[in-house]
Symmetry: D2
Subunit: 486 residues, 4 copies
């Protein structure tokens, strides 16, 4: 509704676009998928879907909104029968939030049904899409996932697995897929392993999902990461592993550690919480400043703050209090009220801050809007000095691998150098962790420039694949002549 506006203190973050979950061999498969998607909700809040298979038929429920809004009625859950299920949560930019884009996608093939869901983003799908349309394929969504589905449909190979391999040989980019046919549950990770995918088990039940926190919620145990370029096929006969693709050195997204993943997940063998603390400690070493307090920008800045405070020997305090009851909308009858609305979500803890030299720790600066407001709020509460420390390098480039980022020119770090950024946000000093510092905190001696250990394109501009679908400005091609009105 036009009378409502997004919350004025909107999160200034890159946004993870998807989380996936698949389960094979449990009588309450869909209920476990719903729990798993709850645990993955931070990876996408705009739509959620589950497809189950009962041995005869597939059952789907997909809707806009969060998991709890879509999977809380007994009638819905009881309809999702079967011992196999896959599920998906999705974040999407406004124009794309229509029901036809909600995953899992499903299609009836010659060989039967197939449901598929995708975390990541392809970088060469547009040309393939045009070619498929030319030969008579009809697209219903604007997701790149549907390109994969059509490639499977038009593959001349015989089995589902062979058709999937055939299809994936055609695409480039980042993908962690979970798919379900009437016979098997399949998980695949792109050859670079940009997005995570993990394998777990619960007794005789197998689970494939984006993060280990989804194992915890259902009491499953972590088995191992799916390897970059690996396809895992689970059926009645058991589990098998295939490596059908070329195997370049892996390039896992380092930003999963900095912000996207949940702190209680273990990602590629490393605790996210520990990684953030280590990054905070490295940041403290790199950019020391005398101060009285280390204050996290809630809530994502907390682990790095704890690491920073311990390394710097400065007390960690909750100098900014978050209001847990803030909803998504607030009405602003006037500019004056809009400005006041800034404090709806956060408030400075004046008793703690007044007269103090304060270090604020946050994980990133995207457009700089939140940082500016936070610095102003902390100053108004009486801070004598405000030093901002950021637990990532400056984000100078967009991401094309399944993360929602503003266009390059709206990134503060692409507009200013660090001194200019400090001035923009109004801080007495500003420092980011260095790119080598980040790699050190992740357990390396530093960044291997000739063969980076991670995908760090948003900091360096070094994209590990070609970007065929985007023009020089990073603008994607238009996919459909149809604008669906919600």
């Amino acid at each position: 509704m036009q009378t409502l506006t997004t919350h004025p203190f909107d999160d200034d973050h890159f946004k993870e676009e998807c989380g996936v979950f698949g389960i094979f061999g449990h009588p309450e498969a869909a209920a476990h998928a719903a729990l798993g998607l709850h645990a993955l909700q931070h990876r996408g809040q705009e739509s959620a879907g589950i497809v189950s298979y009962d041995g005869i038929q597939f059952h789907a429920h997909r809707g806009l909104g969060q998991v709890g809004e879509n999977f809380s009625s007994q009638a819905t859950m009881q309809s999702l029968v079967g011992a196999m299920a896959i599920g998906h949560v999705r974040y999407a930019t406004t124009g794309d939030t229509t029901l036809r884009n909600v995953q899992p996608l499903f299609a009836d093939f010659e060989f039967g049904g197939l449901a598929i869901c995708h975390n990541g983003n392809l970088t060469n799908s547009y040309g393939i899409r045009r070619e498929l349309v030319r030969r008579g394929s009809l697209f219903q969504s604007t997701t790149d996932t549907e390109v994969i589905v059509h490639l499977i449909a038009t593959s001349l190979r015989a089995t589902v697995v062979d058709r999937m391999i055939d299809a994936l040989h055609r695409v480039e980019g980042a993908y962690s897929l979970v798919a379900m046919s009437s016979k098997e549950l399949v998980g695949v990770r792109d050859p670079l392993g940009v997005r995570p995918l993990v394998l777990g088990r619960l007794g005789t039940t197998w689970i494939l999902t984006s993060e280990t926190c989804a194992f915890d919620i259902i009491g499953a145990e972590f088995v191992r990461d799916v390897e970059p370029g690996e396809m895992v096929v689970i059926n009645e006969a058991g589990i098998r592993s295939i490596f059908p693709f070329a195997r370049p050195p892996k390039r896992f997204c380092v930003f999963e550690y900095i912000y996207f993943a949940r702190p209680d997940s273990i990602v590629e063998g490393t605790s996210v919480y520990e990684a953030r603390k280590r990054i905070g400690a490295e940041l403290a070493r790199e950019s020391h400043v005398d101060a009285d307090l280390v204050i996290p920008v809630p809530d994502s800045g907390v682990p790095a703050s704890i690491g920073y405070a311990a390394a710097a020997g400065i007390p960690f305090e909750l100098g900014i209090i978050r209001n847990h009851y803030v909803g998504r909308t607030f009405i602003e009858p006037s500019d004056h009220i809009r400005h006041l609305g800034v404090k709806l979500k956060h408030n400075a803890n004046r008793a703690m801050i007044e007269g103090k030299r304060v270090i604020l720790v946050d994980d990133s600066i995207v457009r700089g809007t939140t940082s500016t407001k936070i610095v102003e709020m902390v100053r108004q509460a009486g801070a004598r000095e405000v030093h901002m420390r950021i637990s990532s390098p400056p984000t100078t480039n967009s991401c094309f691998y399944g993360i929602d980022t503003p266009e390059r020119e709206r990134l503060l770090a692409s507009r200013f150098d660090v001194a200019g950024m400090a001035k923009f946000i109004g801080a007495d000093s500003l420092a980011f962790i260095s790119i080598d510092g980040l790699y050190r905190a992740m357990g390396h001696d530093g960044r291997n420039a000739s063969q980076p250990q991670f995908c760090d394109a948003c900091f360096t501009g070094e994209y590990p694949t070609t970007l065929a679908d985007y023009d020089a400005a990073g603008t994607p091609a238009q996919l459909s002549l149809l604008a669906e009105i919600a």
Copy 2:
């Protein structure tokens, strides 16, 4: 929700499944389409959709529910920009009421976009669908309309019109289609002309729609019926007519006159209201009985009752009053209350009925449930005799041409002869108009048995096409492995 039940006095009627509307050359095309769909609401109440084209892009809004529920917000209407639009209303059996089946269908083709909507039903689509899937086409809906769309997509012809002709040569059954590309508005009627399609104009604006009542609401004038087997193509250059198919004798659905069409429509040159009065008069002549009052079963029985009363010289009276405020659901805490609920929708006008010999006139008996309740109600109100007269022949067979009918074994007329039916509904006498009487009322000397002037398969079992998609029991083939949960 499971706690609500459908109204206990549910309509015991065959149900028309669709209405279509297309408009070319009006700056408020979508608003006119919405008005037209309002006028066609009796042809389908479960979903509604409009697609417009603004010269660059197509704009769609489609939703479950009635026209008013989907096209009443200014934001929606303002988004449907363009001088060309098509729209659809749809009735669907429960299992199929999912959003992906809501029309108009839209697809991006090599040649651009195409939106299409369909009144009728194909009788050989299943085999074609299987063949298309085998070659890699992916179906998103379970509508037979999508078969046409895929046939267009995979046609090797060059123009939209040629591809449509190519596609329609493959299908059998009933179809009145309205389609819109970026260049033209197209209307087509199947060679038998089973469902109606009319052409109208409003100044320089052309309209194609199911019934003339949709012209009245927008102030347009009726030009002519689209002919069976005719394709009308409207574009900037004007209007042209093509007859690409073989031209068998026409077989218009006679039940459109009996019940489906609105009484204020002119169908194939005949006023529906007048036709119903003539059928009522013929019925009076065929099945005379001494009585005090002629009473219509509200509301569809009124025109035939007026004709019957005039021909029989017996007063026409409103002996059954309809409650206009009845909603769609009513809760029945017990069987006792459920039984009382029968009178929510209708009540006998006791002061008029008590002690009288009553003739009830209705248009059809399907399962007999409503008739049984009405007869009981009229008796309880003190009627001395209750004679039921039906302005159609007994409906002994299902329809496969776009009408929702129960399976054959649930049709009362397939279970009992007329005497048995009279006993079942509890009437003192029961008579249906004869099949020849019906044809006489429609202006013929009687039914031409070797080449019937109408499609009357629901009365005679003589289907004018093969029924490739149905088994001997009339059960359709399963189309998708997916059950979507609303």
Copy 3:
């Protein structure tokens, strides 16, 4: 929402403001009350409420909207336990539609609880309200019913019945009340008997309600009208009747016969349907005109039309078709579309009307808006002559007895004489039944000018009570300083 507007073809009628229902001695009392309120829905569509009593506690559910919207969940109905219940439907002008005004009202008194509901309107409540506030009574609603409740609370009499009598001695105006204490169900009708109240039974269960159609729906039998000035008290000991007030000659509202009551109700011993037919016949005798067709303005004009047509010997035809699927709102993107919207609700049956001389029969003209549009529509459909006949005298005055009427200056009959009104609505001729003709149709020799047999103040301006609460312009006093925002 501001983007939605009321339907452009809004009903131009006086509106009955309330219906009441009470039941004593049935294990499913509340479910019967809900059914009864369904039958009374025509007396008020903006709110509905039921209070039951289970022997220990009262249970209430009250809400804005129609009966079906409020009493369709099993949880609600199961909560309304007890063998005694009262219910209410209400129409209210916009400003008053807040939840605190929804009836039945309930209050905890010294003697226990009392629920009360009211059909009618008091004409001296404002002064009493001021006096009660002065002594410390707090009002929660702006209904005059609450004045009665406070008078009961502050009465010094001992029993509920004596307190009710005490309270009602203070008030003037029209009231048909149904009240329920922990001991008894009470029905009262004001001494003039302006609004109806009837007594029925279903085995050993007693029912008090506004119209007999509410008996039909639950299968109860009509016993008798409650007399003007009578109080009926029903408890475990049985039923008794009290006449505590002076007994002036009765003045039942004649408009209940013309429009408010349902045609299938028997009101004060007379069938409403029959009365309307007799009024139509009298109208035909008074205002003959040569014509080809008699056409009712749907739906309320039908019975009078049948009577008119029979008396005039002119065929009755459905010349205007009503669209049953029209919702409450329609969006008008432009004036042009707004004007077209007129035909959403009704359409002229052109095939019947074209070239004919038409008599339109309606029950009343209030502001004249509907009549003007109907006449225009019928002309556009080709009528050669349009003669409007109205089955009530001109409505020149507002009602203050429980009917929603526009202010006097907006009544067409207070602005023009009949010739002026004919011109305003565009009819070739216009005639109203005469006041004496109306009385003749009701079985009298004519109106007794010195002691009219009915309340006919809306036609004559002769109000049967003083109007202490209204100024000369008929504007009511302001009751509360609070404006509640919905």
Copy 4:
């Protein structure tokens, strides 16, 4: 809906029942009130209301749900015109959550309108209510606030202020009131000062509210606490202070510091955050245990944990991660899934906890349900030892001063001693801060047994007023015979 259940990990806390806000002299009074109520949302989430006064009329909007659900439409905010407004948030036990109980209450009096809202609870209102009903007062709500309103209405004093004083002389218990007449804004605090009330200003605008965090959100400055027993009257002439009551030593609720108030509020001159840290530090001194980590139970346990960790010299770590996206409902198709649902809201940070000796810090144990689940979760994550430390004394008694507490027999501390409680929750050790330790942390030498410096009845059973409305078991008297069904 019955199919949805409250979240399985429901908060095991005492619940503050209300927050109040009043503003005088600002053109956007209601918008500021809405912002203030957002800041007070932690004091009540089940209903919210605002009443404004525009110089002529009062305007009210009150609804069930949170502030954002009720005050986010522009239409609503624009209707709440005027330079004076009061607002209220409320938590209520299930049975009472009906719209008629939502505050502010409003009444039309002889002297004009008065709106009033209340934080606290009266302990002698039942007898007064009975007496008022006996003399003819009608109660619409079951709130004790309405008793005050009726006492004002029936007072024989002349001015609003004198009537309020007259009324408040009759009542006992805890109340921080904000009231608004057409002339003035009034704030009053009960003589013991149990609940907070603070005075602030924003230029020439005065604000009265429950906590200073509501000043921060609108940029107002804190002026001073309203004194126990003080009445502050603000009108066009300025602000004045009255002390109309006896002045016993004050007894502020110590639990406001422990849990109810926001950590960023300054209450009675003390920072809540600092108080919690001092309590944590004192707790560490009193109940030392060797351990590897101090982990807060999120989110309320964080400040005490920081204090504990610093005093104990043990690292503070986020060992339990809270899921920010958890909604209010979750469906549990089976007991198995219900059990898993425990981890929806919180998850143990296994990487941090495994093999460690852990101290969990929480603010209170009420029924023990949450503590049991948290301890189990931490053990499952591999903790070697789990020691629970609580920053309040054992809560052995119910509160009757505006806090929602379970009945006494459901309080874990009233059923077991500390050893028994430790066993119940499954901890290796359990310790509560001592009552004297709590007073020391609050800056006293210990508790003054003859004249306690705070209200600590929930720990000691020493209630500072009589409890006339409650029987020995603490069960309140029944107030109304009516059960309203939502």
